[in-house]
């Protein structure tokens, strides 16, 4: 008979210890901010008290909720922007699915030419900041309504674009979908690749037609990936602010994030955070639907693996035109925006595109007060502050990627090994939650949370640590998804064999779990890396002079209209990220698709 102590030690497996540890840490870093946010929506803030008769700052109130959901203006304040938000989020997700899915099918399952080039470049739109596409859209398609120089399309064709095409929900959906379709490409591509060709072959032998095979076999197997893509893009569509505001403003079509920003700037955080709470709730709803519909089926994908690859579909005479078409598409969504950015950095006087106006002044020039925009700043490459900030960004991005990677493996291991238990579910969902929180709210709450020492946690204010923690929490969802995806594919037999051979947990991790899926973990690190390099709203409240980052320091150029500097920095970041992606592909055989758990 076992003693109580022995029993206790038996239940104390590494995965359980890890699970409890992660739960505690995540609860503090994820649930507490969520709770604070919710609390704020029931609190009277200093500048809100004037519209809530008889209230004092700090009072408990339901006024924000009443006003938003039931007040006489709730349609204008909330429901109308909500409808627009849903249109954008659903529209962009569907479009991203169609584009990403078709590209994935063409690359994985057909004899399309230029496959290598296409799969290498198809992820670049996500590497670029999403507003580059919005800027390019306006430059191309704006009409007289927006004044200024004529749009390129109108200059070339003489045809003025209609307002609904140039501004508002339509271009918001298009530009965001062009930014996020790589998610669909990566995830669905991964899923199609994993389908065991024997399944299709058997069906064919049994006399099933091509449509039946697609409908009964391929589609169900790809469905989880479709839902994952939808979840990821939909959630992003809910919270994004810059692109919708820039493209929607000219025709006054606003989304929910406008309410968040306007009320924060109006110093009414109670009302503002309510919009954030709604965004999170919608995200959770989709997450829940994903779990309900897909939950049981997800395991399909994982049991497949090393089956035979299906024969490529022959595109026949469409082969070359389609290949060229895809390349032209990718070229226009990548090269055009990047080119538009780049050309502004080498034009001495902005907007005058001629050869004699060409200059490298903004890249390598002296701090001159009489040339071009007369900025009095050294060129980007000679500017020690800019280069220092770029260094900080790289350092932060690398450290965050590394930590996310390790945590992704460990959390993934824990979740998969404890699969089916409440603890695993909790851990899985808790680590995804930060993905749904608008980063501007998260940044502000982290500032409040870590500015003072609380219990055993010292004040981290002004330290690199705080930036790191904020980023790790924020981008953990990517790494955990990768970790879980990778772990699912490792059967427990490997570890069981090792246990029998007397290997310790540490040895098992080091010798089996990690090496087997090495490339997946590294892929899980790439997305956090990419995201950190361009993060602004999460970090703006947390950076200090010593921890100045590339994205935050360029603000000072943006607000003076010195776009050559802003654009130049963005270009440098794009180049760095693309090099990092290519390098890791070479060295670690990483695949961004695996970074999303595909």
């Amino acid at each position: 008979m076992r003693t109580a102590v022995q029993r206790f030690r038996l239940t104390l497996t590494p995965q359980r210890v890890l699970a409890v540890m992660f739960l505690i840490v995540l609860a503090y870093l994820v649930l507490v901010p969520l709770f604070v946010m919710l609390q704020e929506t029931f609190t009277v803030h200093p500048m809100e008290r004037f519209q809530i008769p008889g209230s004092m700052p700090g009072d408990l109130t339901t006024a924000h909720w009443e006003r938003t959901f039931f007040g006489p203006d709730s349609y204008a304040f909330f429901y109308r922007p909500l409808i627009n938000t849903l249109i954008v989020a659903v529209g962009l997700s569907l479009l991203a699915l169609v584009i990403g899915g078709s590209l994935a099918w063409l690359v994985v399952r057909t004899n399309l030419p230029f496959k290598g080039l296409i799969s290498n470049t198809a992820i670049i739109p996500y590497v670029m900041p999403s507003w580059t596409l919005a800027l390019a859209w306006i430059a191309l398609f704006k009409n007289q309504r927006l004044g200024g120089q004529r749009g390129i399309f109108e200059s070339l064709t003489g045809v003025a674009t209609p307002d609904w095409f140039a501004y508002g929900l339509f271009p918001i959906i298009i530009t965001l979908a062009l930014h996020y379709f790589p998610f669909g490409f990566m995830l669905i591509g991964g899923a199609i690749r994993n389908i065991d060709a024997q399944l299709e072959e058997s069906a064919e032998l049994l006399g099933a037609g091509r449509m039946t095979i697609l409908r009964r076999i391929v589609f169900p197997l790809v469905l989880p990936a479709i839902f994952s893509t939808f979840l990821l893009t939909f959630s992003r569509g809910l919270g994004t602010f810059g692109t919708p505001h820039f493209l929607g403003g000219p025709v006054r079509e606003f989304v929910l994030s406008t309410s968040l920003y306007a009320n924060l700037i109006g110093q009414r955080p109670g009302i503002g955070y309510l919009a954030a709470v709604v965004m999170i709730a919608l995200g959770v709803l989709v997450l829940y639907m994903d779990h309900r519909i897909i939950g049981a089926r997800r395991s399909f994908v994982t049991i497949s693996g090393k089956g035979a690859r299906a024969g490529a579909v022959d595109l026949g005479r469409w082969r070359l035109p389609l290949g060229i078409g895809v390349l032209v598409f990718l070229f226009s969504v990548i090269a055009v925006p990047i080119g538009a950015l780049a050309i502004d950095t080498v034009m001495l006087r902005p907007g005058q595109y001629s050869l004699e106006n060409f200059t490298l002044h903004y890249w390598i020039g002296d701090a001159a007060d009489r040339i071009g925009l007369a900025t009095g700043e050294y060129g980007i490459l000679r500017n020690s502050q800019l280069m220092g900030a770029l260094g900080n960004t790289l350092q932060l991005a690398s450290v965050v990627a590394l930590i996310c990677g390790v945590l992704g493996v460990l959390i993934g291991y824990t979740v998969v090994r404890l699969r089916g238990t409440v603890i695993a579910k909790l851990l899985d969902q808790l680590s995804f939650l930060p993905y749904l929180m608008p980063s501007i709210a998260l940044g502000s709450i982290f500032l409040a949370l870590f500015a003072v020492s609380r219990g055993p946690i010292p004040s981290l204010y002004g330290t690199f640590w705080l930036l790191m923690i904020a980023c790790v929490v924020s981008y953990l969802p990517y790494a955990v998804k990768a970790g879980i995806g990778a772990m699912m594919q490792i059967g427990p037999e490997l570890e069981e064999a090792a246990i029998m051979a007397g290997a310790s947990w540490w040895t098992r991790m080091r010798r089996i779990i990690f090496p087997v899926q090495k490339s997946s973990y590294f892929s899980g690190m790439l997305l956090p890396f990419i995201s950190v390099t361009r993060e602004l709203s999460l970090l703006i409240l947390l950076v200090t002079p010593a921890t100045q980052l590339a994205a935050t320091i360029t603000l000072r150029y943006t607000d003076r209209g010195w776009y050559p500097y802003t654009n130049g920095m963005v270009l440098l970041l794009i180049v760095i990220v693309i090099s990092a992606t290519m390098l890791s592909r070479r060295l670690m055989k990483t695949d961004l698709a695996k970074g999303l758990g595909g």
Binding site: F246, G249, E253, A262, I265, G266, G372, R556, D559
Partner: protein, 370 residues
């Protein structure tokens, strides 16, 4: 030694607060030479600023004094939020702020005691008393502008014209929702709504029929229902209004006049309105405040002193539309002096703005949506 100093600090802070509240003249007693010496001793300074020109001024100050200045550039709301959270947590990071949106900053940073006013000797001597508390670094103009290729003279003389069919779909304004200063400025249209109402009668000869509680908010409603173009940046408004070769150029409302600095580099055809009534636009102060909890209070005071001089204000004086209260300022070429503008532009009442800007934002959000 160290301990004793920190024990005495709160007492000193309390004293400084009292002194500041008592106004500028009480500070005449302080020993400026001692402050200068202490500032050089401190040798460091951290500034939060909404304007990047502070960076340029800080570099010159650093070259002159050897004091290392770190300037953190933040948006208006970010700056207030951050300074407020730091104040609440007792974090001693920032020594002074260069801040816009003073109504919000006053409510959250000054009234809470996290920041105090300080009047350096030069300002005490040269600035008019009404610019001393809070200490005003400078004023910024936001104006109405038009394309000079289309119009030789001012096309509009009355703000109500912008709500008429002639200007439908042609007026650009930075989103009031994301511009705290616009929200403040429109509170003045509420406070002086009788003047706004009179302007309507002057233009149309008829009394104003309102669905909103006052003429200021009525104007906002009618303006928004006249299909304006909501923009995200003043730079883009200036370029859109001023670009050459347009048959039907838009008009700019409430964009910063300092964008006219780019007229030669961007070859713009744009001019500010001198005829609009009852106001040519609005002005707002950039305010300097000292942290009540500063690590380097003396360095901050020295930097404030520098910023109130003509030399220290240099980075701001390189464009029209920015004015120091220092009477020695020579207007930017082609611009009018501050006194001229102050007579023709509305500012806003700080306390009234704090209390009423929520109404402005609500009216805006109610009708902005198409």
């Amino acid at each position: 030694m160290r301990n004793r100093r920190s024990i005495h600090r709160p007492w000193l802070v309390a004293l400084a607060t009292c002194v500041a509240l008592a106004g500028g003249q009480a500070l005449a007693d302080e020993d400026w030479a001692a402050i200068e010496a202490a500032a050089l001793d401190e040798g460091n300074l951290t500034v939060y600023s909404t304007t990047s020109r502070t960076v340029t001024a800080a570099e010159a100050f650093q070259a002159m004094t050897g004091i290392q200045v770190e300037v953190v550039r933040l948006g208006e709301q970010d700056l207030i939020e951050r300074a407020y959270q730091e104040g609440r947590a007792g974090v001693r990071n920032v020594d002074m702020i260069v801040v816009e949106d003073w109504p919000a900053a006053k409510e959250l940073l000054a009234n809470t005691g996290y920041f105090v006013n300080y009047v350096p000797p030069n300002a005490a001597e040269r600035f008019e008393p009404r610019y001393q508390d809070p200490l005003v670094l400078g004023f910024i103009n936001r104006i109405f502008g038009f394309n000079t290729e289309k119009h030789d003279t001012d096309p509009f003389t009355n703000v109500w014209e912008l709500t008429m069919p002639e200007y439908s779909g042609r007026v650009m304004i930075r989103d009031v929702g994301i511009t705290g200063e616009h929200q403040n400025a429109f509170t003045e249209w509420i406070r002086r709504s009788d003047e706004i109402e009179a302007a309507y009668t002057e233009l149309t000869g008829e009394p104003l029929e309102m669905t909103e509680p006052n003429a200021g908010l009525e104007w906002i409603r009618r303006f928004l229902q006249n299909d304006p173009i909501i923009m995200t940046s003043d730079t883009r408004i200036g370029e859109a209004v001023g670009a050459r070769g347009q048959s039907d150029p838009p008009y700019g409302m409430f964009y910063v006049f300092s964008k006219h600095r780019d007229i030669p580099t961007l070859d713009l055809a744009i001019r500010e309105s001198h005829a609009m009534t009852p106001t040519l636009g609005y002005y707002f102060p950039i305010v300097l405040q000292l942290s009540a909890n500063a690590r380097n209070p003396n360095a901050a005071k020295l930097f404030m002193e520098y910023l109130t001089t003509i030399e220290g204000f240099g980075p701001w004086a390189d464009s029209p539309g920015v004015y120091t209260p220092n009477p020695d300022q020579v207007p930017f070429e082609g611009d009018m002096p501050w006194a001229w503008w102050e007579e023709r532009l509305w500012g806003y009442d700080i306390d009234f703005a704090v209390q009423h800007r929520g109404q402005v934002l609500d009216t805006w959000l109610r009708y902005a949506q198409r």
